[in-house]
Point group: C2
Chain length 239, copies 2
């Protein structure tokens, strides 16, 4: 019995009209005034609804011209729907996810660069976790995680096979993360785990997740199979 705000209801109706082909890409939407009268809401509400759909890359606007339907990207978009865990992202793919904990070290020696990034001056406040994550039994990614100990106190290795986000957010809420995508070659060990060949290309994704108070919570270096995973993006031209 969710009670959605009216701008989201308007957004849903517009989305529906796009899906059913009433509004087609290459075509202009009715003006904000017309949409406001059609849905019996204020123009500001229509604008919020449109903004909402623009954020999802369904629409875009041009000042003085109108609002247009965007050509859909062929495949799944990663990222645009915000920061989500692997499990949630698997669902969006319509696949089942599977996690195997490879390493759980409660007293790791973290490299200095990571200590710096985590704003720590000494060892001892981090735990180290390595996980293999699969979609439908196919190895997708290896995660190397340094996590603030205080957020995962008295956690068993078994619990780590589930959503790390959920676990951590019992203690602190994660607000956002910065990530960086680069390309590299798989070494012997990585190749074996991901069931690929040595020197096959992989996507290395480095990310740091922060709390609202800008405290780094997770330092994550993940390696994705390049043949199974790509990162998608939609860029809008600002004239």
């Amino acid at each position: 019995m969710e009670k959605l705000p009216s701008y989201q209801l308007v957004a849903k109706e517009i989305e529906e009209k796009i899906k059913t082909g009433v509004y087609v890409s290459s075509q202009k939407l009715p003006s904000e005034y017309d949409l406001a009268t059609e849905f019996a809401v204020s123009r500001l509400t229509v604008r919020k609804a449109i903004d909402f759909l623009i954020q999802q890359n369904l629409l875009f606007k041009m000042k003085g011209k109108g609002t247009y339907v965007m050509q859909p990207s062929e495949k799944y978009q990663s990222g645009k729907s915000g920061l989500v865990g692997f499990t949630e992202s698997a669902k969006a793919f319509g696949k089942s996810s599977n996690t195997k904990v490879l390493v759980y070290d409660q007293t790791p020696q973290a490299p200095q660069t990571i200590l710096n990034a985590m704003q720590l001056t000494k060892q001892g406040d981090l735990v180290y976790i390595e996980r293999l994550r699969s979609f439908d039994e196919e190895p997708m990614t290896i995660e190397h995680l340094y996590v603030k100990s205080s957020t995962v106190k008295e956690v068993t290795k078994e619990q780590l096979a589930n959503s790390l986000f959920e676990l951590i957010e019992k203690t602190v809420e994660i607000a956002y993360s910065h990530q960086e995508v680069e390309a590299m070659l798989a070494d012997q060990e990585l190749a074996k785990l991901l069931q690929i060949k040595k020197n096959d290309p992989v996507l290395k994704v480095n990310s740091i997740a922060y709390s609202a108070t800008a405290i780094p919570i997770i330092y994550d270096t993940s390696y994705y199979r390049a043949d199974k995973y790509t990162f998608k993006n939609t860029l809008i031209r600002n004239h």
Copy 2:
């Protein structure tokens, strides 16, 4: 003599206060009410200013709690400022860009997959361009471009060394583009051009740029040196 809207002036002032350390990450901003009185504008204007800074990953909000300053990402963020050309992006880096046209074929045989993506049923409506682009004389990327002929009629090879966007937008305006990032290995030819070794990792970025009327204008496959280029992203957690 630009006359910026007041929400952007407010945004600028807030941005300034972040830069000068008045507002620090880990710290909450004054409430929307307080900011509204401080800047002598309506609360809606403050909200627009904040939204503006959220889009640039400088702030984020939590309902009922407040608005916070985001920990800055250490390096340059690609993408977040929208669709920009290579030349413009070089400026953001504080570097000079250099372009060399390697191939300009006005009657190419395009692969079927590209014809499909460009919504064409026959050959003949595309031109093919290959360009090497450098930052400060360092090879950064090789571009393989298929461009709708109608947008680059009677263009000389020399003109292609400048901004392709500018050239095209004399005919049609580019509205947005979908892009996909993947990892692969450099072949012999690519390695030579990018001055790397064969089988070194490269980032392959595939993108299609569309006009407002959803007509595909450019089909671009670019190869970036993995040691020089990464893609950055900021994801916000939606609870």
